[in-house]
Symmetry: C2
């Protein structure tokens, strides 16, 4: 008898939430020309952040500050709150893992939308939580249905991304505010605002910083262009924020990333510039799609869902054919959203590659569909 996994972990699937673009490149033997599948920001981080990280490289013999003191202080000022409302972690993925561990015991109910962020589901499954799914409504998350289901099943957590991934849709602030008011007292809303920086100013729900029933997740991976630095943060009531300290990897943050995030936060001009570039890229993705008969969904994020029609198999073929032509995109996992492909904002050179590849990829996908 060899050492064995816990029954919980032994029962988990070996599958992973996402196969990375590098792994896809290794499989095909060809690097992508345009990397527009992971909602990264090809516009890059602020030059000041790059400089801060490069400078910190020679200081990397020191552990990062486990309290993330300076970054939390800066984030608190940015959000007009105090540092005890802010926890910094290894990306939103890392924070979701901690949060699920804190709140979800085996068998506990958790509510999310069918087709929403798979990594959240991965962590809920990983801690033995019981997932309950609510369908999207009109290609958007449905706060009223999520709250109703949370009450029905006695959910510990209910997950809502606003703006949403993978559809790019945004729910009016008032509906989310009403959802929070309607939540059971012992249900925590995980409001994933990874794409908040792309939303129209003033369009996000107002959340009381001391409301114990809401935790908001933010990141430097999207608009700040620092996905590879792994810096996420959450805003919530101090008691909840303090509880992360009971379980988190205290020395988990890279020192370079701490320095980079601090510099990136201070360069709001760069952020505004990226948001403008992303808006231009979204418009061009829509135009490229329209030229091939694919309608773009309205997006409040740094990506656009293009409606390919048909069922998931057509979009799946198109993702594959685009990949074969060097253009990395992804697609939603669940019907009927899986009729779309999801294209991240690119620079003009990336969008040129998309424009060039799309008609041929679409023709090949349709041909394969006709043969099938």
């Amino acid at each position: 008898m060899a050492p064995r996994l816990t029954p919980l972990v032994a029962g988990l699937p070996a599958s992973v939430p996402f196969v990375g673009p590098e792994a896809l490149e290794r499989r095909s033997g060809t690097p992508f020309r345009a990397r527009m599948g992971a909602n990264e920001s090809v516009f890059g981080p602020s030059p000041r952040a790059v400089e801060a990280m490069a400078r910190a490289a020679s200081e990397t013999w020191m552990y990062g500050d486990p309290e993330n003191h300076d970054l939390r202080a800066a984030l608190a000022a940015h959000h007009a709150t105090t540092p005890d409302h802010v926890i910094v972690g290894e990306g939103i993925d890392g924070l979701l893992c901690y949060l699920v561990r804190m709140m979800v015991a085996p068998g506990d109910a958790v509510v999310t939308s069918a087709g929403a962020y798979p990594t959240f589901n991965y962590h809920v499954n990983g801690y033995g939580g019981q997932l309950h799914f609510v369908p999207y409504r009109d290609d958007a998350e449905d706060p009223e249905a999520l709250a109703a289901r949370a009450a029905e099943v006695g959910a510990r957590l209910v997950y809502l991304a606003n703006p949403d991934n993978p559809m790019g849709s945004q729910v009016p602030a008032a509906r989310i505010e009403a959802m929070i008011a309607a939540l059971p007292d012992d249900t925590l809303l995980v409001l994933d605002e990874a794409y908040a920086d792309f939303a129209a100013p003033g369009s996000l729900p107002r959340v009381k910083m001391d409301d114990p029933r809401v935790i908001r997740m933010r990141t430097f991976s999207k608009a700040y262009g620092m996905a590879g630095a792994r810096v996420g943060y959450a805003l919530g009531a101090p008691d909840l924020i303090a509880a992360f300290d009971r379980i988190r990897n205290h020395f988990g943050m890279c020192r370079m990333s701490q320095a980079g995030a601090l510099a990136a936060l201070a360069d709001q001009d760069h952020l505004a510039r990226v948001v403008r570039q992303v808006a231009q890229a979204r418009a061009r993705i829509a135009a490229i799609g329209a030229a091939s008969g694919l309608e773009a969904l309205v997006s409040s994020t740094n990506f656009v869902a293009l409606d390919c029609g048909g069922d998931g198999s057509r979009a799946r073929r198109l993702v594959s054919e685009l990949g074969a032509r060097g253009v990395f995109v992804r697609m939603p996992f669940v019907a009927p959203q899986d009729r779309c492909i999801r294209v991240s904002a690119g620079r003009p050179v990336d969008l040129d590659a998309l424009e060039e590849a799309l008609p041929g990829a679409l023709a090949a996908a349709r041909e394969a569909e006709a043969r099938a």
Copy 2:
């Protein structure tokens, strides 16, 4: 009723394994002159690693490769094994957290030495494991006693650091090899080899890469001088290594750190140079201690335990008095090892600061002791 923590997490203490030096500096209002308390490598990473990280800073808009493919391939070659024997993670701390989660269900027995690595204990407590402690023998871990206790309590994990932290001692390879042979079939030995690079060549136990009962932990935080980059790895049997993929934060690694570790591994000359500098520093720490009547314990690591005599209160006062003089050191947590202070290897300038501060700090500590 507000959202509540799981019963397990609600029962955990709010205390943290280590208070970082930055927090100590904020409390005192004065930066340390010499940072010799966290076993970091003030000699720094390879210049090639610094260059690779600085270069990667501008590529940080991309997530790191979640499979850590290139680094795992290089590590496998370095250890004459295959990549499926290697898992890369967010420092040994991160890997210990994953491993405990994989192997320890609430109530499961785990064995370690009293006074050994507190962060391991933190993770075991965090998953509800039941810790059983074995005392040090002659200021070193006691493999025979650890194996015997593991058999007695039916341990899922038994932890052994070799070379050891906080004492710096090393157990002869043959004793660890005999311990492995004597372990119950279903007990996994966690062999923490964070300080392996400082051990004499050929002095470490030989472990079969496919032995399902041993997992070895290594790091870029110590001899490679990259504590702030958070790169650890583990070597073990492929089934065990593959199980990490069920629960780990797949996109948890910094892209800069991946690039830095790859470059650092390729610069073994730098590593050899650091190991020589550390040996010189150890000798000088011993001489500085001897000049004040403190005996140095033999060390196979990048730090030296200096025996202050008396009980823990004398060493505790000395740590505090050194801190007040700008010299950051730490000390063991458990008697009788807590009669020592633990001083990490420093550059000549750091050791000058120690030499200058020690006599006065010692006098102040003895005075306080006499008054107490």
